[in-house]
């Protein structure tokens, strides 16, 4: 009898421990994602400083206003429909449910709408610790895409036109890419084994090439190109501010990449006792720590070698992260360093190539995020081929392959470039894209902002040739 009682007591204790562990996991997951949100807001502090520093005195505040408004409009629009798109369309159109049972329009209606039954998961709910923090992390991913585009178009875009573009990019275009390539039911994953752990393609490349589509219709700043087609360098008013902004973006990316981890204890966890990627494959924060640090270092060193320019060095740090982001879970650190170094090396030549084709990308966003994003996606196809792309074994689930990653890269390019070009073209038709010439020459702060950035300071630095003869 005593033995049976002891056995029963042990079972009760085990059950209590299991229950307590579950609660602890839930609270851990909630806290984990909650903390990624302020970390990712640091990305926006960085983009704000970066863009304002890269603007001339006469445009410094309007660049800041644009960036702040992008963030402000991204959150509600992602709440209204972006979150719903992510859950609704992983299998493509028309939004059929996928094999993992967490996708499709019916599922999205049930959990991601701000009205009807789904609204219970879109607000305070004592039985749901996951939706709000997971939504928050994704909303900040969305805001990051808008900020990437924001820097490229400074000093000549209209505010409302820009916000419309930011909404299309942040609450729709990249969300479709995420649904297709960053979801257990995503058709790029289940059919082609696309693996993009840290969103090199589906965030960075989509945003970068969206910006390219916009830049084609927006045109260069007045004075950027000479009559013979040669480019001028238009210096921003505060390089140190830009460089510190870039460093802040790097800080924030620790939150971004941390938020790409699926931890135990929330509704969409793959496991109850270990972390995974969004694909259900294993990952540790140690893996991220090794590879992000080596990626940053490799990118800086690669870009320093030929540029010696702190702007490009810190852009190289970003390029280092982005070029390795797809495989941060499975690269060896020295391997990540070499890939990041190569990204740092090619960064400036790629930006020059674009500039020589008449594209005025004020901060190099198309190159840093677009070109290097796709480079990272393809690199993983070369080195990571054969890895099971989802939880399971090769044969049961698709494996990473070069062809699969190239297909993913093409889809991410199109999901960025096409909506960016089409929507900006429509805005241009309606006169909502570019500010009037007189206002651009006078400075956009005079037109848009009832305040002065540096009221006691003088004029802008002189414009000089972008590629002076050696």
């Amino acid at each position: 009898m005593e033995e049976q009682l002891a056995e029963l007591a042990a079972q009760v204790a085990a059950l209590e421990a299991a229950s307590g562990g579950s609660v602890t996991n839930t609270m851990f997951a909630e806290t984990f994602y909650y903390l990624t949100i302020p970390l990712m807001i640091i990305i926006h502090a960085g983009f704000l400083a970066y863009e304002m520093g890269a603007s001339r005195l006469k445009n410094v505040l309007s660049s800041g206003v644009k960036n702040i408004l992008a963030f402000a409009f991204m959150i509600p629009t992602f709440y209204f429909f972006g979150w719903w798109v992510y859950w609704g369309f992983p299998t493509g159109i028309p939004g059929a449910p996928g094999p993992a049972g967490i996708s499709g329009i019916e599922y999205a209606n049930a959990i991601a709408l701000g009205w009807g039954d789904g609204a219970q998961y879109m607000g305070p709910n004592i039985a749901d610790n996951a939706s709000g923090v997971f939504f928050g992390a994704f909303a900040l991913f969305a805001a990051t895409t808008a900020s990437i585009m924001s820097g490229a178009v400074i000093e000549r875009i209209q505010t409302v036109g820009f916000i419309i573009l930011a909404i299309v990019l942040g609450s729709f275009a990249w969300v479709v890419a995420a649904a297709w390539g960053w979801h257990a039911d995503g058709w790029l994953v289940t059919n082609f084994g696309v693996h993009d752990y840290g969103a090199a393609g589906l965030v960075h490349a989509v945003a970068g090439f969206f910006a390219l589509g916009v830049l084609i219709n927006l045109g260069p700043r007045i004075g950027k190109f000479n009559a013979d087609g040669s480019a001028n360098h238009i210096p921003g008013h505060n390089m140190p501010l830009t460089v510190v902004g870039l460093m802040l973006i790097i800080v924030g990316f620790w939150g971004f990449l941390m938020a790409c981890v699926i931890v135990p204890g929330e509704a969409w966890s793959w496991f109850g006792d270990k972390m995974s990627t969004i694909y259900g494959t294993p990952i540790t924060l140690s893996a991220l720590s090794f590879n992000i640090l080596m990626g940053i270092a490799g990118g800086i060193i690669g870009s320093w070698l030929f540029t010696r320019d702190p702007f490009w060095m810190m852009s190289g740090a970003l390029a280092g992260i982005i070029s390795t982001a797809s495989g941060l879970d499975i690269y060896f650190p020295a391997h990540a360093f070499i890939i990041a170094f190569s990204a740092g090396l090619i960064l400036k030549p790629c930006a020059d190539w674009l500039e020589n084709r008449g594209i005025d990308d004020a901060v190099g966003a198309v190159t840093v995020h677009g070109t290097i994003g796709l480079y990272g996606v393809v690199m993983l196809g070369i080195w990571g081929a054969g890895y099971p792309a989802l939880q399971g074994a090769a044969g049961e689930v698709p494996t990473v392959s070069l062809m699969g990653q190239i297909i993913g890269a093409v889809v991410f390019f199109l999901l960025g470039f096409v909506p960016g070009y089409v929507v900006s073209y429509i805005l241009k038709m309606f006169g909502m894209l570019r500010i009037r010439e007189g206002a651009e020459l006078a400075g956009m702060d005079l037109v848009k902002v009832p305040a002065a950035g540096y009221p006691e300071w003088g004029g802008d630095a002189p414009v000089t040739p972008a590629h002076p003869a050696e």
Partner: protein, 58 residues
Amino acid sequence: MLFPYEEASWSAVDGAMFMGWGTSLPGLTTAIAMAICVVVLVIGQRSETAKAKAFDKL
């Protein structure tokens, strides 16, 4: 194919899971990364010295 286990299955993974574990790749990439650091420093020193010399006559 750099998956470090004979069976390409996540259930087989019980330790290191980076590309090339168990092959010479980690050592090779570490050596290359070290060489990159040294070469970049050498090039950096040479070019900075050359540029600095240009100011000697000023």
